[in-house]
């Protein structure tokens, strides 16, 4: 089954970067403009990987991340951030609560997005095959 990737970011330039990076990757890529839409899309979406921004309107990254983790504790989540101090406290709380995520520093290049996505999803595929 084709793997699905969810990009949650309010910036069009960032969403376009992911689109350009993953257009020929063979993965299905879906986008959300804010945390609320992202959480709603995640609910029924059966995604294998999530990239999430921190600073977003309506629902910010840390809140959306917590809600995603409530639905799926194991899915790989990459927080894509410019390393602003603003959300560090909240991210620390999320980590202390046991919700795992990785950090990706902006600006992220096309090659890095593709390489990272492939390595995570290929590893996921291998694991599924091993378990079956």
């Amino acid at each position: 089954m084709t793997k699905k990737v969810l990009i949650i970011d309010d910036e069009e330039a960032v969403r376009n970067s992911f689109q350009l990076a993953l257009e020929d990757s063979g993965f299905i890529v879906e986008f959300a403009e804010n945390g609320k839409i992202g959480v709603e899309k995640f609910a029924g979406g059966n995604f294998s990987l999530v990239f999430i921004d921190l600073k977003m309107p309506i629902m910010d990254g840390p809140t959306a991340l917590k809600k995603i983790r409530e639905q799926d504790a194991d899915i790989p989540v990459y927080v894509v951030t410019a390393f602003s101090q603003e959300f560090f406290g909240e991210l620390k709380e999320i980590m202390l609560a046991g919700h795992h995520f990785e950090l990706l520093k902006k600006p992220v290049g096309l090659e890095e997005i593709l390489s990272l996505t492939k390595s995570v999803l290929d590893a996921d595929t291998n694991q599924e095959q091993a378990e079956s």
Partner: protein, 536 residues
């Protein structure tokens, strides 16, 4: 080595002591300060030619004139003292100087009354031969008593006096009323007790009372005040007791007649006794003014530093905000250009242009990254906590995994078998330093034939040491000495802003550590960070 203040104290003490015993020493050498003159009989006065009468009368009254000069000098000094005390109080709000200044003034007023009465310039009923010695004695007792009362009030009721001006005023009114009462009593009494006993051992027994009082004040009360409020003025009160005691000794055991040697010495030393607190107050005023000026200068400098720090903080906050906002569109630009670049043939002229556009965009990203780092350097959002730096290092390496694998860099971590102790650090700041050093090492290895990066973590001389050692081309010796200065970079033009190492140094030094660099003997360069452990 004595400070200048201690030298002043000693000089003050020595000069007062010398002034106090000098007249006695001069007496020993044969100098007589007496101005006694036998009164001419009425017949002798009548026989004086009219042209010589004024000179003869002046001669007869010479003792009185000298007495008036000496007493009035003391009163003048008391006036200057109280004026200076008010000036000192107006600027420094020190109740001690005000109370003591006022008591000295009231003492001076009593001495002035004594002088006016002695010169018959105010009406007095009693005979001058009893009036002058009696008012002298009563003035000396009053002088000692009011000083003791004033200092005792300051020692016991300082807070009330400091905060309640009405109480302060009330105290001074009481002092004034007591002084006036004594003056009135002396002026209106027909008969005043005999106070001079020329043939006795104690020629003026009434002067023993102020002698004892001044000894008590000088040996106990004034030192107590000095211990509570140590300054040159309170010290001067202690040493003023020296001439006061010597005055009383000259009078009690020496003077047997008006205007004799001991009488005049005592009156002279009384001036010294007033001058000493005046000098003490004057020096204290200069010292406190000087201290005030220095405090004001320091306050100005600190305010300027604070304003500058706030400005920088605002600049930092703005830099953070702007940089953060720029990152998103910049990510778009970099990736749009990159996308077009990989789909443009190398022979196409636009390929070169797109390549340059990508390079410049990445340079912008680097500047923004440094600005964000700069904006975070001074922030204290996170507290310093005991952290394991090897964990921070692991995180930094994983963040750079993409670049490390893309450049095919062989990264080796060298850590001891036993876990290292924690260091008290602001985790995010130390992470920034490691990000900067690792990033620099990766940049250095970009065009290197051998791409190795060794990261050593160990304990040495009770310090945590983290060393990033690359196999690159090393650092140009010309920039080595200034490498940690702002805007100095060893990277090619357009690659670095020159802020990263400067900021890293600031962060490490703020943590009590050091950061150094050196070229490796086998090639490449090493950057070494040392940090003190949490538990030494």
């Amino acid at each position: 080595m004595k400070t200048s203040k201690q030298k002043i104290f000693i000089l003050f003490l020595i000069s007062t002591a010398i002034a106090s015993i000098l007249p006695f020493l001069l007496n020993v050498l044969g100098v007589d300060f007496g101005v006694t003159k036998t009164m001419l009989s009425p017949d002798a006065l009548a026989a004086i030619p009219p042209g010589e009468m004024v000179d003869v009368m002046h001669g007869q009254l010479r003792g009185s004139f000298v007495h008036t000069l000496l007493e009035w000098s003391a009163f003048t000094v008391a006036i200057f003292t109280v004026m200076l005390a008010f000036l000192h109080f107006s600027t420094h709000k020190d109740i001690v100087t005000l109370i003591v200044g006022m008591t000295l003034f009231f003492s001076g007023c009593m001495d002035a009354f004594h002088t006016l009465a002695a010169n018959r310039l105010i009406s007095a009923v009693a005979d001058n031969r009893d009036l002058i010695p009696f008012t002298w004695a009563i003035c000396r007792v009053f002088n000692a008593a009011i000083m003791i009362a004033g200092v005792t009030l300051v020692l016991t009721k300082r807070r009330i006096l400091q905060t309640n001006m009405n109480v302060l005023l009330g105290v001074n009114v009481i002092f004034a009323l007591v002084a006036y009462g004594i003056i009135h009593l002396c002026a209106t009494s027909q008969n005043l007790p005999q106070t001079q006993f020329p043939n006795s051992l104690i020629t003026r027994p009434y002067d023993v009372v102020p002698l004892v009082l001044f000894l008590f004040a000088g040996l106990y009360l004034y030192p107590k005040l000095y211990r509570k409020t140590p300054n040159i003025f309170t010290f001067s009160l202690i040493i003023s007791a020296i001439p006061e005691v010597v005055v009383e000794m000259h009078m009690a055991f020496g003077s047997s007649a008006l205007f004799d040697n001991n009488f005049n010495i005592a009156h002279f030393l009384k001036i010294i006794a007033y001058v000493v607190p005046l000098c003490g107050l004057g020096i204290e005023y200069l010292f406190t003014n000087d201290r005030l000026k220095r405090n004001q200068i320091e306050l100005k400098e600190r305010t300027a530093i604070m304003i500058q720090a706030e400005k920088m903080s605002s600049v930092g906050t703005m830099a953070a905000g702007v940089s953060h906002e720029l990152n998103n569109p910049l990510m778009g630009i970099i990736n749009y250009v990159d996308y077009c670049l990989v789909r443009t043939d190398e022979s196409d002229k636009r390929h070169g242009i797109l390549k340059n556009a990508l390079k410049e965009s990445k340079r912008c990203a680097s500047i923004i990254g440094d600005l964000l780092m700069f904006s975070r350097t001074g922030k204290i959002d996170d507290d310093a906590v005991a952290l394991d730096c090897s964990e921070i290092l692991d995180k930094v390496i994983s963040l750079n995994n993409f670049r490390i694998s893309k450049e095919s860099i062989e990264v080796t971590r060298h850590t001891p078998d036993i876990p290292l102790r924690t260091v008290k650090v602001k985790g995010n700041q130390i992470q920034q330093v490691f990000v900067n050093l690792l990033g620099n090492a990766v940049d250095a290895l970009e065009n290197s034939s051998v791409k190795k990066l060794d990261i050593h973590l160990f304990e040495e001389n009770n310090l945590l040491t983290v060393e990033f050692s690359d196999s690159g081309t090393g650092i140009d010796p010309e920039v080595m000495d200034n490498l940690f200065d702002p805007f100095v970079t060893s990277k090619e033009a357009g690659k670095g802003t020159g802020l990263g190492l400067s900021i890293s140094r600031t962060i490490i030094e703020n943590h009590g550590g050091k950061i150094t660099c050196a070229n490796n003997m086998q090639g490449g360069a090493s950057f070494t960070v040392t940090l003190p452990f949490t538990d030494p």
